[in-house]
Amino acid sequence: MNMTSNPRRSDVDQTLRKTLAARHAPTSPGAVANALTFGWRALLKIKHMPEQLFDVIVTPIMFTVMFTYLFGGALAGSTDAYLQFLLPGILVQTVTFTSIYTGFTLNGDISKGVFDRFRSMPIWKPAPIVGAMVGDTVRYTVSSLIVVAVGFIMGFRAETGASGIVLSILLLDLFAFGIGWIFTTLALTVRTPSTVMTLSWLVLMPLTFASNIFVDPATMPGWLQAIVGVNPVALLVTAVRGIMSGTVTAGEIGFALLAPALVTAICAPVAMYLYGRER
């Protein structure tokens, strides 16, 4: 064949023969290792396409700056006092919005040929999905840290200091991972990434605005206060505010984790079923 015309070819042929002859057959590394490898894949994608993080970074900065300086004085008497109130809420809004991307990227990814290869490999079946979601927690963490940094520059201080911030981010990651299953399930149901996006916004918009992120619900009508009282986003905001100011109770953390736990219990098996289905 043409290959013999290349003078280097015979060397290459030698290497090739040796390489092909090698019959390594390692044992399967197990479910956790498989999922973590897919988490690493998600990070590689961020490395190659850092612009993916753009939305995740710009939107929260915009919200923090805009709300603090536009409404801070009117809503809380001073911009400083308002920032102290707003920042935990913005953190929650940020990771919640970011979690939509889990579904958005998965939907585009899964229709590619490489998923056929994954499916024909001897790996833990849900690993590509779980791994992608684990990888996304890095995204949540990065966007949270950016919001905290912007807040810090503007004058925000957590009373509980660095440990409060670390704990808050941990709670935020857990929450986003849990509700991420909704968007994963959506991604496995609908056809295009933009549909995933639209539907996800429909779910999240009311949840973030009918909440205590921007204003104290005490001024809201009673029926709305009732809604805010059971809104999972609001429950998380309460817990994060509590952690940052040092007044958090175990109950508050428990309520914050209730929704993600429920969502995981219901949506994870559904997502696994949808993923296992042949296409």
């Binding site: 390594h24 056929d116 024909s120």
Partner: protein
């Protein structure tokens, strides 16, 4: 017993429907261990669906398939441990580099971090991709993608490798490289099931060929057997004067002992040739009787011509493959 099964693949009455479309409609195959088996057919014939059934990506609606001694429905996990699939549309991650692609898959298979890096380096080296190893795969040429794709399939050398149209869209040089790779793999003991739209490819590589049309096998055998039934080649003749076409047709049919058909071009004729020796004599006879030939060629039959010979109708939606007549 699983190891020494003489057949790598055995199917009987395999059926897969998509709605009312019987994509695979009762396929029986027997593929010997250590051989290259070719599934030849036009677009939409059911080649990819067959491969996906055998690679445990789809469940059959009826029939039975035993791969490496195991049932595809009951023991898919065991089968996955011993096979690899190179899909029709590149089954590599375009956003990652060649190196990252291979390391990722090696890690999934259970290689340690350092083993994975070593194996990736080894394969990139062997497949002539080391210069491109740090570039995203989406920047690769078609041939490089295919080589990376095949490299990805043999990180842990499989007992059975599925290659779905491994050379469609490749230039002749890259095609030759892929062929060479496949031959070396088989020399190392791997069984290969490949699909193709090119008779030439099946002829060059496959020990046995199944011709597939509308989900069924319409011919099966070695390439020699297949050619015996369809003719070893096709003679194309163009005349200087279209008025002489009927005379030329009669004469050629006589001399070649074969059916001669008229082509779309009013000056052109084509004939299946079973014995190339008779071609020269037939051409001489044409000029002796005053029929001027402006040009002629003798080539392997294209997929269309194979189909015409086997079924009497043209392939439903065969891609035109210019190289297949080379």
């Amino acid at each position: 017993m699983h190891q020494h099964h003489p057949l790598a693949i055995e199917t009987s009455g395999l059926v897969k429907c998509f709605g009312t479309n019987r994509a695979v409609d009762g396929i029986d195959l027997q593929v010997r261990q250590g051989s290259i088996y070719g599934l030849l057919g036009p677009n939409g014939a059911g080649k990819t669906t067959t491969v996906r059934l055998l690679a445990t990506l789809l469940r059959p609606d009826a029939g039975k398939a035993i791969v490496l001694g195991r049932d595809v429905v009951r023991e898919p996990d065991e089968i996955r441990r011993q096979i690899s699939l190179t899909g029709q549309f590149a089954s590599i991650d375009e956003d990652l580099t060649g190196y990252e692609n291979l390391v990722l898959l090696a890690r999934l298979l259970g290689f340690s971090r350092s083993q994975s890096k070593a194996r990736a380096g080894e394969l990139l080296d062997a497949f002539d991709l080391e210069d491109a190893s740090r570039r995203q795969a989406k920047t690769y040429s078609g041939g490089m993608r295919r080589r990376l794709d095949i490299a990805a399939s043999i990180i842990s050398t499989p007992d059975l490798l599925f290659l779905d149209e491994p050379t469609t869209g490749l230039d002749p040089r890259s095609r030759g490289q892929v062929w060479e790779l496949i031959r070396m793999l088989v020399a190392g003991g791997t069984t290969v099931l490949l699909t193709t739209q090119y008779l030439e490819e099946a002829d060059q590589l496959a020990d046995r060929i199944a011709v597939i049309d509308r989900g069924s096998v319409i011919a099966e055998g070695t390439s020699t057997e297949l050619k015996a039934s369809i003719g070893s080649g096709v003679l194309h003749v163009r005349l200087s004067d279209p008025a002489q076409r009927d005379a030329a047709r009669q004469l050629l049919a006589e001399r070649l002992g074969a059916l001669v058909h008229l082509e779309g071009d009013p000056r052109a004729l084509a004939a299946q040739v079973s014995d190339p020796d008779r071609v020269a004599a037939a051409l001489v006879a044409l000029s002796a009787s005053g029929i001027a030939v402006s040009d002629f060629s003798l080539g392997q039959p294209s997929l269309d011509e194979v189909f015409f010979a086997l079924t009497g109708h043209a392939a439903a939606s065969a891609d035109q493959s210019p190289e297949s007549a080379l």
